[in-house]
């Protein structure tokens, strides 16, 4: 060893007092056009689904809240933050991105003195490469997730036009698993669902073939899965991450698939028995989804529940409004049977307001729930609408459900563009085919086709079933012959219906006047609650809000003993009614416990 070898380690100390030198751009060499460089995230497209976080093999991505970004039904409000200490720039996150918001620039040089700055939220932390045209993007045709929904087997129009047999056949196990595989479990659907069903979890159960678990998950939030699995408005699918570049997951069909796989007896085993009796008695007016969901929850908590139903069977509008080709009565009966198995006593043909008064219910019960729906149809009250052959669609649908003899006209005009209009048109079309072998039905609506309140699928299927739908027609009067026999409906062309504030402001072209042939006119323009059943006294005591009973967030009215929910206060929607049922049940249970505690305290 020489003297130099001994001294040289100590000469390194001379560098201790020198300033560090970093050369910012030693090479000045651009990367290739598709180089996988630093990330970009288009904030207009990102929905915070977190699929990038899930797929990252290095755990480099965390979904975190961002200041000033609020969550909404279609956006979690979270954004991916990437740890560039972990990232290997494999671009799996870009390949799987459900909206195409995540891409990469071709920038590869980033100099920082603070390593924490490499915890980077692209799109939120502004960088000079944000607007770069070059870099890596997923190839347009390459998607890690299948885009197309597994097709649902259905009866074709010619097969279903003269029959009330259920037209949607349901997925088999293979089809359901393929469809479930498309789900990335982002969970955006949970927030959107009014009942907050555990959707990714029950889709996972389908994927795993674990239907027992699926049923348990369904019944945590929805005792009407047979119904909702067929007719739910599926708002969840409107926020599904898959819908941005393909079809949303068939959440509604997968729910139906689960409940269809499990026999009724097994469903009852999985749900279990109700809690011990509490000694409390609750009356529910109306055996529809809101009332029966509340009944199910309350019965499981141990309360005695009696439901008063005016009709001969339960289900409310799900039975008496929705035709059997969409929701078979036996499917609905299966849902109701599970509810009555919890000890709920349903008294049919017991209309409140006539056979029994609200006053009696108030006197005899610890709480009362009013869930009477919207069973009365509105009328246009145009000239001639008081003729016996001008009928309310909801009344006709009720007659058809009850199996009553219905006067089937050879030609029918329906006024309205909502689901009830489509329901009566398609039901009468089937009856016309059965009786006359041909269909002559015209639907007229004020709204343009794009603005119809009906589900677009209903409108599409109505066209397939040879129903003539005329949009933008305003009803003017019914037309009669000299003997007073109804000939049809006169309409004017509607040029526009809403103003710039989306409020009603129709404009007509009076020169475009048509008469639509009809031996019968069915009005399906709106529905209302039967307020008469409340009685004068209660009607006067209650607080109202523009024609609706005023309720708080839990569904409690201004009368401390009375709750209300479902269609009669919120508008027609089954899953909203189910959600209302849960809220009311929880509120009633809490109120009854508080009352019991107060009583105990007083006695002490």
């Amino acid at each position: 060893m020489s003297i130099r070898d001994v001294i040289s380690p100590f000469t390194a100390w001379k560098n201790l007092f020198r300033d560090p030198v970093s050369i910012a751009d030693p090479l000045n060499r651009p990367a290739s056009a598709r180089y996988r460089g630093f990330h970009r995230n288009d904030q207009e497209l990102c929905i915070g689904c977190g699929t990038c976080e899930t797929i990252c093999q290095n755990g480099a991505i965390d979904m975190l809240p961002v200041d000033g970004l609020a969550a909404s039904k279609e956006d979690s409000g979270l954004r991916p933050r990437i740890d560039y200490g972990r990232c290997c720039w494999c671009a799996l996150c870009v390949d799987v991105c459900m909206t195409g918001s995540l891409t990469m620039s071709n920038e590869y040089k980033w100099i920082e003195s603070d390593p924490d700055n490499y915890l980077y939220t692209p799109g939120v932390d502004k960088k000079h490469w944000d607007d770069s045209e070059l870099g890596y993007r997923r190839h347009e045709e390459k998607h890690l997730m299948p885009l197309v929904r597994v097709e649902m087997p259905e009866l074709q129009p010619r097969q279903r036009m003269d029959s009330f047999v259920e037209m949607v056949k349901g997925y088999d196990v293979e089809q359901a698993k393929l469809e479930a595989d498309r789900c990335v479990a982002c969970g955006l659907c949970i927030a959107t669902c009014p009942a907050h069903m555990s959707i990714p979890q029950y889709i996972q159960a389908v994927r795993d073939g674990d239907y027992d678990r699926g049923v348990q998950l369904l019944y945590e939030t929805n005792p009407f899965s047979q119904v909702c699995g067929r007719v739910c408005t599926h708002k969840c699918e409107d926020s599904c991450a898959a819908r941005y570049e393909g079809d949303p997951i068939a959440i509604r069909w997968l729910k139906r698939h689960i409940i269809d796989q499990v026999p009724q007896e097994r469903v009852l085993e999985l749900i279990g028995k109700p809690a011990a009796p509490t000694g409390k008695q609750i009356a529910i007016v109306g055996a529809g989804p809101a009332g029966l969901t509340a009944a199910f929850d309350l019965a499981r908590l141990g309360h005695a529940v009696t439901v008063y139903e005016a009709q001969a069977a339960g289900g409310g509008m799900t039975r008496y409004g929705i035709p059997e080709y969409r929701l078979p009565y036996d499917a609905l009966d299966r849902d109701i049977a599970v509810i009555t198995a919890m000890g709920v006593d349903i008294k049919y043909n017991q209309p409140v307001g006539t056979d029994i008064s609200m006053q009696q219910l108030e006197n005899d019960n610890d709480a009362v729930v009013l869930t009477v729906g919207l069973h009365q149809g509105r009328s246009t009250r145009i000239p001639g609408s008081d003729h016996p052959q001008v009928r309310k669609a909801v009344e006709l649908l009720r007659q058809i459900t009850n199996g009553e003899k219905v006067d089937v006209p050879k030609s029918l005009v329906v006024i309205g563009g909502g689901n009830v209009a489509m329901d009566i048109a398609r039901s009468m079309a089937r009856l016309q085919m059965q009786q006359y072998g041909q269909i002559n039905i015209t639907v007229t609506a004020l709204e343009a086709l794009d603005n119809f309140l009906a589900d677009p699928v209903e409108v599409k299927e109505s066209f397939e079933e040879f129903i003539n739908i005329l949009d933008s027609r305003g009803p003017r009067e019914c037309v009669f012959d000299d003997d007073g026999k109804l000939l049809g409906l006169k309409t004017w062309k509607v040029l526009s219906i809403f103003d710039e504030n989306q409020r009603f402001a129709p404009r007509y072209d009076e020169s475009d006047e048509q008469i639509h042939e009809g031996e019968m006119v069915a009005e399906a323009i709106g529905q209302m609650m039967d307020v008469n059943l409340l009685g004068e006294d209660l009607t006067e005591r209650l607080e109202w809000e523009r024609g609706r009973i005023r309720i708080d967030a839990d569904g409690r009215t201004s009368e401390h003993w009375l709750w209300s929910g479902g269609d009669c206060v919120k508008g027609p929607d089954v899953i909203n009614a189910v959600a209302d049922g849960h809220r009311m049940a929880a509120s009633i249970d809490l109120a009854l416990h508080e009352t019991t505690e107060d009583t105990k305290t007083t006695e002490q």
Binding site: D386, G474, E477, P506, I525, M528, T539, R546
Partner: protein
């Protein structure tokens, strides 16, 4: 029970009188916007199988004559204000008689008539009435004619919300037509402008009521 509407003569409500006219004349003379001229008062006949002729004019000849005989703007506004007060009092008296779930509607109608009353009273107190009228009638409101074929109900003992709205629409439409008719029969000038202004105000009110009617009747009521 919903009131049943039949194509027959209706009973009068206080201060109103029915008149009859042939359908085609009425249609031909119907105002389109505030500047359409009417050669005669719009009156209606109850004719089978027709639309507009089933509507009834809700203004008495006496009231029209009262207005025609006035020669100053303030006098006309006093009469118009009196009409609004009458309407306001009518709805205010009706409110406690209707079922509570629809009382909000009648109370709102009374409030709107009160607003008209205040508007006309305020206008009458201004020195620059003429200029104010000119500014207003330069922006005429279109008559949507939605309520053309809504039957006029007899309110009866227990009207529902739809009946109350139909009744209110009928009143507004009749008032609108009345003022248009008066404008047509008045030579150009300040009084003509005042009648047009009043017609425009009634049209605005009618248009607003038609929006409420759609929300209540055509949208499920919720």
């Amino acid at each position: 029970m919903h009131p049943v509407f039949s194509v027959v003569k209706k009973t009068c409500t206080p201060n109103m009188k029915h008149a009859m006219k042939v359908k085609e004349d009425h249609r031909a003379q119907r105002p389109q916007g505030s500047n359409k001229k009417l050669s005669v008062h719009p009156v209606f006949s109850v004719v089978k199988k027709t639309c507009a002729p089933n509507k009834e004019q809700a203004m008495s000849e006496a009231n029209i004559q009262r207005l025609k005989n006035k020669t100053t703007l303030k006098e006309i506004l006093e009469v118009a204000t009196e009409f609004e007060r009458t309407a306001r009092d009518f709805y205010a008296a009706l409110a406690p008689k209707v079922r509570k779930d629809i009382r909000w509607l009648v109370e709102e109608l009374a409030e709107e008539e009160q607003e008209h009353y205040d508007l006309f009273t305020g206008l009458a107190a201004r020195d620059d009435i003429t200029e104010q009228l000119k500014a207003e009638i330069e922006r005429p409101v279109s008559d949507n004619r939605f309520s053309d074929c809504i039957h006029t109900p007899d309110l009866g003992e227990n009207p529902d919300d739809q009946a109350v709205l139909q009744y209110a629409l009928m009143r507004e439409d009749a008032a609108m037509q009345q003022y248009h008719a008066l404008a047509q029969s008045t030579p150009p000038g300040a009084i003509h402008d005042l009648f047009l202004f009043l017609a425009n105000e009634e049209t605005k009110h009618k248009v607003e009521l038609e929006k409420v009617y759609y929300e209540v009747v055509h949208s499920g009521g919720v």
